[in-house]
Amino acid sequence: MSPASRRIRLALLAAAAWVVASCGGSSSSASSSTSATACTNQPGLITSFPTTATTNAVPLVIDGGPIVGGAPVGSVNQSYVTITVCVPGTTNCQVIDHVWVDTGSYGLRLMPSVLTLSLPASPAATGGNVIGDCVQFVASYMWGAVRVADVKIGGETAPSLPLQVVGDPSVPATAPSGCSAGMPQITGVSGSNGLLANGLLGVGNFRQDCGPFCAPVTGSANPAFYYTCTSAGSCSPTTMPLNQQIQNPVGVFTSSDNNGVVMQIPSIPPQGQANVSGWLVFGIDTQTNNQLGSALVFLTDGSGFINTNTTYGSTTNTQSYIDSGSNGLFFNDPSLTACPASGSTPANGFFCATAMLSATMTAQANTPPMHTYGFCVQNFNTLSGAFNAFNDLAGPSSPNTFDWGLPFFYGRSVYTALEQTTIGGNSGPFVAASTP
C-alpha cells in the first residue's frame, strides 16, 4: 500500500470504525480487563468451510473494497460478493464486483458510477412520473429511483427484481427532507461520501425494504421510503404495493434456495488479517451446504430484533440484532472508555479500551435456546492499518441496543431466514448461529 493510500485509509478508519485483534473470553459476562494483553480466539471457532462454488454458493470476501483510482477504497469488515445484472429478459448484462452483503437491509442498491446498463423504470411509475426511493441508515442515506433488472448471483436468478439505482438522474439530485433528515448523503463508491462498495445487497430477514409500513391499506406514505416524483422535479411521499417495493432478491429466486442465506466466514487471528475468503450460501436446509444442523435459532420480531434479547452483564438489551452491515460490535458498557473527541473532532465511535467479554443471546428471557458468545474488544488506537478484517472492533451504542456486527461472523455459520418461511420447524423470520 502506498503511503498516500495508507494515509487515506487510516483517515477513513479513524473517521469510521474498527479495531484489532481478537477475542476470547467465554463464560460469564461483562468482565473487563485493563490489561493490553492480546486476546486469544474463543476455542471451537470454524477455521475453514467445506463449501465449494456451486449453484447456491458464491465466494464472499472481506478485503479493502472496490478498486477506485488504482487502489482499494479502504473498507474494514465489509463483506462482498460479485453479481450479474441484466436488462430484464435479455442477455444484455453487466458483472458488478464488490457488492456489500448486508443482513441488516433489504434489496439491491447500485451505485451510479458503476452501473452502465440502461434499466427500465419501475412499473409503478405512471403518467410520466418516476418512483423515488430512499434508504436511511443511522447517520446517512441514499436516494435514487426504482428500476427493474434480472439479477443473477452464482447460479441463482431473481427475475424482474425492483431495485434502487442510487443517484438516478430521473429523480431530483436533492433528496426530499423527509428522506435526508439533514444527514450526509451517500453518493458514490469511494471517498468521504462513498459507500465503500459498488452496491448494497440487502439479504436480511424481510422480503421488502419497507414492507407493510408503506403498503396501501396496511401502512401509509412514509417519508423515509417511497416518493412519486413528477417530471418537474417535485416529489411527494407515496405508498407502494409490496410487490413493487425494493425486493430482497433471495425471496425472488426462482429456485428453492429462496428462504434465506447462510454466511460462512472462517475465523481470523486476534491481530486481524488483510483479506478473508468465505461463502455466501443461498437457502437454508435446501442443500447439503446450507443445513441448519445444530445451529441455535433465535426468532426475530417484525423489526428484525432478536426475540427477545441479548443479555450483557446485568443489562437486558431488548433491541439486539445480528447485522453483517455493521463493521463492529456495538453495545453499552460504561466501564469501557470510548475514544475521546479531540479538539473540534468528535469521537470516532469506538472503544479505546481492551477487554475480554461475553454476552448471552436469548430467545426468551433465561430459557433455551440461549447461548453465551465470547468476544474481545481491542483498543481502537492499537489496530493495524495494514488489515481489513478484525474480530474485535467495538464501540458504544444506544440504550438497550446490542448490535452483533461482522466481528461476530468470523468463525461461525450465521443464518438469516426470511419472514413467511418454515425451516426445520422454525417459523421465519429468524437468525441462527453455530456454536461456540
Binding site: 477513513l12 473517521a15 470504525a17 473498507s75 465489509q78 441488516g104 437491509s105 433489504y106 434508504v135 436511511q136 441508515f137 443511522v138 447517520a139 446517512s140 427532507s177 439533514g182 444527514m183 450526509p184 448523503q185 451517500i186 468521504s192 461520501n193 462513498g194 459507500l195 465503500l196 462498495a197 436480511g204 425494504d209 414492507g211 409500513f213 401502512g219 401509509s220 406514505a221 412514509n222 417519508p223 423515509a224 421510503f225 423489526s303 430484533f305 433491541q319 447485522d323 452491515g325 455493521s326 463493521n327 463492529g328 456495538f330 470510548a338 473532532t345 468528535p346 469521537a347 470516532n348 465511535g349 464501540g395 458504544p396 451504542s397 444506544s398 440504550p399 438497550n400 441496543t401 448490535d403
Partner: protein, 160 residues
Amino acid sequence: MTNSLRPSRGCGRSRASSWLLLALLAPAAAFATLGEDGATVDRDLARMKAQRNVTRTSAYSVHELQLPGGTQVREYLTPANQVFAIGWSGPGIPDLQQLLGTYFPRYRAAAQARSVSSRAPLVVQQPDLVIRSAGHPRAFSGVAYLPLQMPAGVRAEEIR
C-alpha cells in the same frame, strides 16, 4: 419539512382538515423541539387523540406519538413544560432537524466526522447534550437528552 408547516401554532381554524394535511405531509411537524417549550405539543396533541399517549410521573410527562409509517416518537417534558429528552423507534428515522432544533448541528457534525458508510451507532456525549442513535433499515431507535435540564432524580436509563 418546512417551517411553514410547523405545528399549528397560530393556526386555529379548520382543525380537522389542517391536521389531516399535517398528518399527510409533515408527520413530524407536530412535535416540540428539544430544549424548547412543550406547551404547543399539548395543544397539538389534544387534536390528535388517536395518535397520542401521555403518561406522567412525578418528575416528568411522556408524550408518545405514533407517526404515519410506523415510527414512534416520545417526548419527555418537565413539570415546567420544557422538553428535556426525546426518544424514537421504528422503521424510519423521524425528522431530527425538527426534533433537535438548535442542537441538530452538533448531531450533524458527529455524522460528518465519520465515514458515511458506517453502520455504527452515532454517539454524541457532551456535558450539556447526549444523543445516541442506532439501528438499521426498518429498525431504528435513539435518544437525545439534555443532562443539565433533567429533572432531579431522573436517570438517563428512563429515556427510551
